[in-house]
Amino acid sequence: MKAVRVLYFASLRELVGKSEDSFAIEVPITGESLWCILNKGIDLPESSLLAINHEYADLQTNIHENDEVAFFPPVTGG
């Protein structure tokens, strides 16, 4: 069991009702599986994005120890 930090932003933060999860989990694990374990019963909205260590990543990308993971909706800055 390894430490992983998970952040939620904008509408996803509101959807899951928390801005952060920080805990130990079996790694490697894909982003998609991580969401399922952490947010049981809440489907990840279709257009959601995943970042691992501040870089965009595919939902199938493996997450490792000490990674910072973030789930968020399409960006709308500028």
């Binding site: 904008a10 501040h54 500028g78």
Partner: protein, 151 residues
């Protein structure tokens, strides 16, 4: 010389350009072209009256993405300097939200890089807008408009 700034409070884009030039480009005679873009909050969006907006972001990733966007644009075009600023937090209509300025020897690179940086920022930098409408509702802006460049 590049400068990337996140503003928690209001900022004046024109004074920011003046400061940048005074601090970094005083006596510099090598640039012939300065292209800039300022994005400002409107009081309407998608047919609705908007009274205010909260701009949320993911600070460490924002910084990394903006730096990467600027770096890649400098590799692609002969750009001399880039100034990029973005507002976060509570924003009122007519407040500036984003500033992109590119200095180059010639106009094509300045225009192209400025627009490219702006489009990249719109589609890659982790910012999110939540609008408060005149009707009392609030909503997340769902998506930015597609890339507006021809190519």
């Amino acid at each position: 010389m590049n400068s990337i700034n996140i503003h928690e409070g209001s900022f004046d884009p024109w004074h920011e350009i003046i400061s940048f030039q005074n601090n970094n480009l005083n006596g510099v005679k090598s640039y012939g072209a300065t292209a800039s873009f300022v994005g400002t909050m409107r009081d309407f969006n998608e047919g609705d009256d908007v009274v205010e907006m909260v701009l949320e972001h993911y600070p460490l990733m924002t910084q990394k993405q903006l730096e990467s966007i600027v770096e890649l644009s400098i590799e692609k075009w002969p750009v001399q300097h880039v100034l990029l600023s973005h507002r976060v937090g509570l924003i009122q209509p007519s407040d500036p939200i984003v500033l992109v300025v590119v200095w180059s020897a010639h106009r094509a690179a300045a225009f192209d890089a400025c627009r490219h940086i702006m489009e990249e920022l719109k589609h890659k930098a982790p910012f999110w807008k939540k609008e408060s409408l005149l009707s009392g509702e609030s909503r997340w802006v769902s998506e930015n408009t597609p890339d507006t460049r021809d190519n």
